[in-house]
Symmetry: D2
Subunit: 360 residues, 4 copies
């Protein structure tokens, strides 16, 4: 209830501050018998890690993790899986300047209002470092989904005003990993990289969009009314730092469409019924229909910029703040694995839930 847990059956609890001793996650509800591939988990964490390319922050963090429970002889036992990642690169001194200052468009002020006290070092609990715990848990969820042949792919489709034009259904996301932007279109990737470098050199930041597709999701996942599959995906994405918007299928574009254009006709083809078009984005009435699920996530420009900005201190006095240290000029390249992880957690949760409710 305090906001650090996610999911109903495949459920995670995260903890930890950016510059405390470490961060971690406890996964509860993972079925027994899932083979744990630690090198895959490390790969996933590496995709999220700072310092991986010139368009990301040069801050170095290691994401060496330890599985402390729930896995025995390489296999999950059905008991809680605790994963812990020690903090190493804790330059706490860097942050004394913000102990009494509220940075613009950060969580400094709101944490102060809510809690009265806060661990101000590096943003504390509000730091994006928290997302490493999500990626670690998402890796386990992906291993579970693999048993059902469900895969999740994502990539950057927009930075500033540079957009990939193809529909998300058609994108070849395997190409995303071939460039440092994680954009499935190599030509646009190059343009995006140039834009980001230019903005970075000016001490500024820029926003972007991550698109995601879930393949081979069986029909019947998602619960009617409040826990619609896309509502849970939306909440998952909106919970990621810096996210400002979410849409799925035809999304915001559907607003200007006619019903006669937008309706997806059912056709008989192969084993399962399919739809001719897929404006529904694989979800109808909140329940998956067996078609690919796809959605978009909008990220704002990073709040930490290398420029002077007016703000307030604890006494309500005007102060000038300026970003220090090493920060991302654009968050989307590193956000790709986070989006995938959150999608994996939602689908794993609904997959297990559906077993409870099925009649067999």
């Amino acid at each position: 209830m305090a906001g650090n847990s996610f999911g109903d059956v495949f459920k995670i609890h995260t903890f930890g501050e950016s510059h405390g001793k470490g961060i971690g996650v406890v996964i509860d509800g993972c079925p027994s018998g899932v083979k744990i591939d630690e090198s895959f988990m490390l790969d996933e964490l590496t995709r999220r890690r700072p310092g991986q390319s010139r368009v990301t922050t040069q801050r170095q963090e290691t994401d060496e993790f330890e599985i402390q429970s729930g896995v025995f002889e390489g296999v999950t036992t059905g008991t809680p899986i605790s994963i812990y990642i020690k903090n190493k690169d804790q330059k706490s001194k860097d942050y004394t300047h913000i102990a009494n200052t509220f940075r613009p468009s950060h969580a400094d002020m709101t944490y102060n209002i809510k809690y009265g006290v806060r661990d101000y070092r590096g943003g504390g609990r509000s730091s994006a470092r928290e997302t490493a715990a999500r990626v670690a848990a998402g890796a386990i969820a992906k291993l579970l989904l693999k048993q059902s042949n469900i895969t999740i792919e994502a990539g950057v489709t927009q930075v500033g005003n540079i957009k990939v034009n193809s529909s998300i259904e058609q994108l070849d996301f395997t190409k995303s990993e071939e460039n440092i932007i994680r954009c499935p279109d190599p030509i646009k990737a190059k343009e995006m990289e140039e834009l980001i470098m230019d903005i970075k050199n000016k001490g500024d930041t820029i926003g972007g969009i991550v698109a995601c597709r879930i393949n081979n999701c069986p029909g019947g996942l998602g619960d009617p009314v409040f826990d619609k599959l896309h509502a849970d995906l939306g909440k998952a994405m909106l919970s990621i730092n810096a996210v400002k918007g979410f849409d799925y299928g035809s999304g915001f574009d559907s607003v200007a469409m006619l019903g006669s254009e937008h309706n997806d006709a059912w056709i008989s083809e192969g084993d399962h019924p399919k739809t001719k078009t897929n404006f529904s984005g694989g979800i109808q009435g909140g329940i998956s229909n067996g078609m690919p699920i796809y959605f978009k996530v909008a990220f704002k420009p990073v709040a930490t910029i290398m420029r002077d900005q007016e703000s307030l201190d604890k006494e309500g006095q005007m102060v000038i703040v300026k970003g220090k240290g090493r920060h991302d000029p654009c968050v989307v390249p590193r956000a790709v694995p986070i989006v995938e992880a959150m999608a994996a957690l939602v689908i794993a949760d609904h997959l297990l839930k559906q077993k409870s409710y099925s009649r067999n």
Copy 2:
């Protein structure tokens, strides 16, 4: 867990099918001592009701409700409040044609995959009639919020390609109730009305956008990490029938903005700190900062159209389906009170949650 409950502390449970005996909601966790204004509740339900104008369905439903528990001598007692709305206009015969047929872009097929059986009459549980229960519960939430001077306003800002240009922060939503579109801009309202009537006459439907603003929300609401205030608002909105997208504050537009433009500087003005701009939409790090909260909700065109469409029946055979009866050509005018109700439920829930966590 089965998807029919919403909220943590101020929690609702809804039930009922479009053409069953009735629909209803049980509200659990409403504090004692809230004065219940039944005529206000009826007004809210009337705003959602079909048959209210020529741009909505002409289907007649009465929304006469009965409070069955939890209120004694006009005041809430702290025990569950059950509100029941009997179904009256149950023309079940209208729906026999869909008993064995899956309409395009409806929930017919997905319910069938999920449950094996379904109450096909009028969409059953997936019908938008279910939202009457949300509006009834939302009315109680609004009465609770009124005690803290928090108000919620919404209106239609786009139908098809016709858009209101002003920012949501500046809109005078009191004007929304003066036209049948519920658009705060009377000139745009007229254009929208013409567009909808034109599309209706062609047997087609069109999408639209509802914008919402929450005024006087205190700082400190929302929980870090997964239950960010905007993530809960997003889930709430995405759970409404026909919604395809959600964004808040600068939303999808933030993608093309620079950090230096987007950051909201803190300024000292009056009792509470304020921000010079409000691209954050009143929420930072998932927690309200005391500024107005605002967001947009995208609705797709209604799936029921008065035209022949190809689809499948239960045996997988191609059939022609055509909408019958009386349906909305555009859902947004009636969606306004639903958006407000869901927003009220989210804020009421977080307001009560915050009392648990506060140190005093």
Copy 3:
């Protein structure tokens, strides 16, 4: 969270006051395809009903219920099942004398402390009338369990100092329904009946014990650590009005036993492993082991007695209160179906949960 819901997957939400418009329950999470037998449901409610024999209250209530949703053509659809029971025998005038008075060992004072306001008529929400909703929901749970051949039986094994001597494992509970005490031992039943009538004639009340056995429960139900199967059964029973204690298997008697006596040896016999003795009560480490589950529930003497008692009014002044109306001299005969209902809800919930976690 406000205490009116029970269960995780097979989840119920109850509402209603003793002398309000009615009481009811919404069942969420019942799988689709369960055949609903309304006459069985009525039988169960009749077993709980006041006025059924001379050892129970002579108050007349009808338990005519209406299923308002979730059932279509006699079968559950997987959507919420709302069951409503109108109140009829509402002699509200009977209760004006307690509007300002706190009866000894009732919930009058504690509701007043907690909520500030209360529906004092007939105990309002704290009345045992609330248990009718449990029995209605429990009947649905029993219908679900029947699909897995799981049965639940209970009976009265003690009233005052009169005890049935046989072990709960050996009792023939089918005999419970043959006498008005619902005691499986007909000779003890007669003694108990005489004792209760004697106490009733003196305007007093007496306590008792209900024992319960769950047959054919598969192994593997129950969750380790906090949601042990017996912990959930214990909470379920302790939540029933007037219950003061719970034990299972060897229970409180185990305190004086040696480990060498108490351990249940595993033996190979038939398809499944069995234990030679069953002091474990069918549960080990919180998880069912396939043996019969059995437990005891202690009920205090009913608080309403037909005698003068000292107490306080709202102004803190001493007053004399005396029970009015028609009340049970001993609660256990009518508690039997309530105990069974709560047991059915717990087992149904864990049966569905286990499907989520199983590897297949």
Copy 4:
């Protein structure tokens, strides 16, 4: 939902196996501003620790814990508090003999049925080592309760047939810590010690009772219907390893009492209303009434005995098992701090919940 979490607002999530890397707990929902006293936490863990006296197991474990998050400059920040205790004394070889064998009255067989795989070393997740995490979390809960002057005391009141005669309300629990049995009556303590040593020398074990009293609990805690305060206390206690029964106030003894004896008359005395007697155990209608809360918890004899016992192996063949290593002859002396910890968790949770529901 998988059974490793406890509480609603003050919520804990535990993890870890007896012979894995370590065990731990994440506390979510603790308000900010609670001063953390690590030496008090260590004292509490030391009271639970094996090897503390001749009546407990001689197994050595250290309970050195690390707070990994949620505390900054000695004070809670409102974010999750993760506490980790590394395992040290891991003689895994001791347990290879039970890898394929199901010990009588242990959780070996039921874990196998439920999960198919299990960490058999030292009982894995079902080991009582798990309770160290509860005690650590309970210590934080006690620090929170201290702010409201609420204290929790417990002691051993029965071992085998040796009983303390005084009522729980009158016991001076400060004396419990003066003897190794943790019995508030020093004379009975001596007898109990002799009995336990005698049984230990015979390689056998014996059960016992722990009684607990909660002082200064304000009225109004506990939720009506399902989450009655005593129902939550009961579930908490029944979730502790080896517990077979729970009763509160007059408990099982109430069965043979008359209503006229059992009712607690309200009297005016001092600031708050009080009851003349306290058979209610401080709880009426599931809600605390301001009087002392007291209850009893029954523990069975420990299952591991130093004697040959018949059992089955994985192939269903009969085998002889015999306890190895160092085990408790009687669990109650070490159970005292665990009972207190679980009580503290329940009261802390309801204290915070009540803030949400209160009208102010």
